[in-house]
């Protein structure tokens, strides 16, 4: 119910901006489209973050690196070895999931009973390790990844939305629905929720955390790989690209959505994308004195993002759509 209200509110705000700015070439209309398509990428990564948080109660700083690793694997198979695109995609997903499982076994498992902050530092170390390996193997050179389909794209309000963005939005919606069903209706989903809330109690009723934990991190790697494969073609491939540009907005999106809510991750992603795009527009459109806003303070979208994160955590820590579990 709350999901519907929040979605309706965001849609209403978008509609209002679009109607008010209709026909205005310098207006914010194109930025609304940019915001939604960027927000879909944030949401895609945020879903993986939410999954790990639901399952292990930790922020997974390596989630972005799952994406970059998958993108590099795809690059290796598709561009360097010349294999077909779909082979590269399958190889990327499989290898990333294996890396995720290895991470679970080597890094996460020994720390399951340690404080969560310890596990958080471990995921940071793992992310930096992955970035280091990317530097060693692929060197810090700009690379490009082919999009899934080449095509014209559709033009909305002077902004050309290429097919990759449409695929991202579609995949994100599908994942949110599937995972929402998984966590509320299936035994495995409920078992994962149980371990995240009280590992000891779930062990008492016969659910082994040793079985659940690989599943959580494997699926997180899977979701991260999908996010990376879909996102990287819209930008350049450099070591740590997903961590650098998507991880913080994705975390903000997840927190905004409530950290435990899968539809929340989607809604939060779109909201964060809109906030960033509109503040980008405003900082280049309005001026104080004879200088534009961005002349005084560069990169206003990230400042607004920090303010949004602070506001939501101080005023409503459970997020827009968050519930316990």
């Amino acid at each position: 119910m709350r999901t519907a209200i929040v979605c309706a509110a965001i849609a209403a705000i978008c509609a209002l901006i679009l109607i008010l700015g209709a026909g205005d070439q310098t207006g914010p209309n194109a930025f609304v489209v940019i915001g939604i398509s960027q927000g879909a990428i944030y949401g895609l990564l945020a879903i993986g973050l939410v999954l790990v948080y639901k399952g292990a109660r930790v922020f997974n700083f390596a989630q972005g690196e799952f994406g970059t690793l998958a993108a590099f694997t795809l690059y290796l198979f598709n561009r360097q070895y010349g294999l077909p695109y779909w082979v590269g995609v399958i190889a990327a997903v499989v290898i990333t999931v294996l890396i995720g499982l290895a991470m679970e076994r080597v890094v996460v498992r020994p720390l399951l009973e340690k404080p969560r902050v310890t596990l958080l530092v471990a995921t940071i170390a793992f992310a930096l390790l992955a970035i280091g390996f990317e530097f060693v193997i692929f060197l810090p050179e700009l690379k490009n990844l082919e999009p899934i389909v080449h095509g014209q794209g559709i033009t909305i309000f002077t902004y050309i939305l290429d097919p990759q963005h449409l695929i991202i939005i579609g995949v994100l919606l599908a994942l949110a629905v599937i995972l929402g069903f998984f966590f509320s209706r299936t035994d495995l989903g409920l078992a994962i929720l149980g371990t995240s809330q009280d590992a000891f109690a779930t062990r008492v009723v016969g659910i082994g955390i040793d079985r659940i934990s690989p599943f959580i991190w494997g699926s997180a790697a899977f979701l991260g790989a999908i996010a990376g494969i879909l996102y990287v073609p819209t930008t350049n491939l450099v070591p740590g690209v997903v961590t650098l540009y998507v991880l913080i907005p994705a975390f903000t999106a997840a927190v905004l959505g409530g950290m435990t809510s899968l539809p929340g991750a989607f809604v939060g992603g779109v909201a964060v994308g809109l906030i960033q795009a509109l503040s980008q527009w405003a900082s280049g459109h309005y001026s104080i004195g004879d200088k534009l806003l961005q002349g005084y303070l560069p990169d206003i979208p990230d400042v607004v993002l920090l303010i949004a994160l602070l506001t939501i955590l101080l005023a409503r820590p459970q997020g827009l759509l968050g519930t316990e579990a």
Partner: protein
């Protein structure tokens, strides 16, 4: 913060009382004291000798290592003593570096030819205060938001500082960078390295006195549980903010020194993978142990250069992998951190604890209780591929000093 965490024993950072020399404890003989003093002199003399005898660019790297050590001590206050994770430390270091550079060029009108030591000292003080204020703001946020969520806020804070604040044209001289000429008499790399050592000594002294005082005990108790600390009448609000400001003060000193080390401050010096690496170096050094933190930080600052000394390694790397050996350092640091967190939670400090304990006039042992536990198997250490014990109470209680980060966790913000 859950009930479970309160019961988990976290070791006191300082040695327990019965370990101190006295009627019940162990006290070395005069010869023993003599040996300890000799070893200390050899260590400090060795560091001094190395600094004095190396070439200029190595002296610059040593001063960078000292600056890293101060940064490590700064992070250690928040992470090791207070138990909160700060991923945005490059914000404090960067803000104070820019403030120091801004002061000496714009207010004190220093040039590369002349800059009085007085304006240098004023710049360091102002930078330290700026760092304290910047961190104090974050401390106020930390009153409401803890644990994982605070880590996220600090990350975003550092990110904004890097991308936005440090790109303000007035601050960065339109992107060219803010010059920070070194003071007269310390222009050379060797002299500047000694100056950095002096500041490290000052920071170590403040850190030591802080931890031994009421303030330090209060901060350590907040790490255990701020609810329990509050019931003992500890002003949790004030001490939390104070700990952050202390951390910011150290970061400010480090930032000012960094500005003069670089002599031109640009925003590139403060990117966010730096601050993540700083967290790792403190973890590798050993949380809450200042000797370990200093060694760990210095190691992280120096090892990218140290591995290039040995040309055989260089050539092997170039010929076999066709890669610049510098890239391998990007892997070594995180690898050490992962290893530390999983297998050696005490970090370097834990590994060298017999030496540090011996040097401070105690027995040469890993066990602070005077060797009662020697001979017993290390039950707390868990192997990588060993199955986890089904009896949850057994392993952790046996060996207390295995906790990486304290218990103030707050997984629900």
């Amino acid at each position: 913060m859950t009930d479970l965490d309160v019961t988990e024993p976290t070791p006191p950072v300082e040695a327990p009382v019965d370990d101190r020399p006295g009627p019940s404890g162990f006290s070395p003989s005069p010869q023993g004291w003599f040996a300890r003093v000799v070893v200390l002199i050899v260590i400090f003399g060795g560091v001094f000798w190395v600094t004095a005898s190396v070439k200029g660019f190595w002296a610059a790297r040593i001063s960078l290592a000292v600056i890293f050590a101060i940064i490590g001590l700064s992070l250690n206050v928040v992470l090791g003593y207070l138990g909160q994770l700060s991923l945005g430390h490059q914000a404090f270091v960067g803000i104070s570096a820019f403030v120091a550079a801004f002061y000496v060029t714009k207010s004190a009108h220093c040039t590369t030819d002349s800059c009085s030591i007085g304006s240098f000292l004023i710049a360091v003080v102002i930078a330290a205060l700026a760092g304290a204020v910047a961190a104090g703001i974050l401390g106020l946020v930390a009153l409401r938001i803890r644990g994982l969520y605070l880590a996220l806020i600090t990350l975003a804070y550092g990110f904004v500082a890097e991308r936005s604040l440090f790109e303000i044209p007035a601050l960065t001289n339109g992107g060219a960078g803010q010059p920070a000429p070194r003071p007269d008499g310390f222009v050379g790399d060797h002299a500047f390295a000694y100056l950095c050592f002096i500041f490290l000594a000052i920071v170590l002294f403040i850190d030591w006195r802080l931890l031994r005082s009421k303030v330090g005990r209060a901060i350590l108790s907040i790490k255990q549980s701020d609810a329990v600390a509050a019931t003992y009448g500890i002003n949790v609000t004030a001490y939390k903010v104070l700990a952050f400001m202390m951390s910011g003060l150290f970061a400010g000193i480090a930032g000012a020194l960094f500005a003069f080390h670089e002599t031109n401050v640009v925003s590139n010096n403060f990117n966010f993978s730096n601050s993540l690496l700083w967290v790792l170096m403190v973890v590798v050094g050993g949380l809450g142990r200042r000797t370990g933190v200093v060694i760990g930080s210095a190691f992280f600052a120096l090892f990218p250069y140290l591995i290039t000394i040995y040309s055989g390694f260089n050539n092997f790397f170039k010929d076999t992998f066709h890669r610049d050996p510098n890239y391998i350092t990007l892997v070594i640091g995180p690898l050490l951190a992962v290893l530390t967190i999983i297998q050696f939670p005490g970090g370097i400090a834990e590994q060298i604890s017999p030496i540090t304990r011996w040097l401070s006039g105690k027995r040469f042992t890993k066990h602070p209780d005077g060797g009662h536990a020697t001979g017993e198997p290390k039950s707390g250490k868990r192997g990588l591929f060993k199955r986890r014990s089904q009896n949850g109470a057994e392993p952790e209680a046996a060996e207390p000093s295995k906790e990486l980060v304290g218990s103030t966790e707050g997984s629900d913000a």
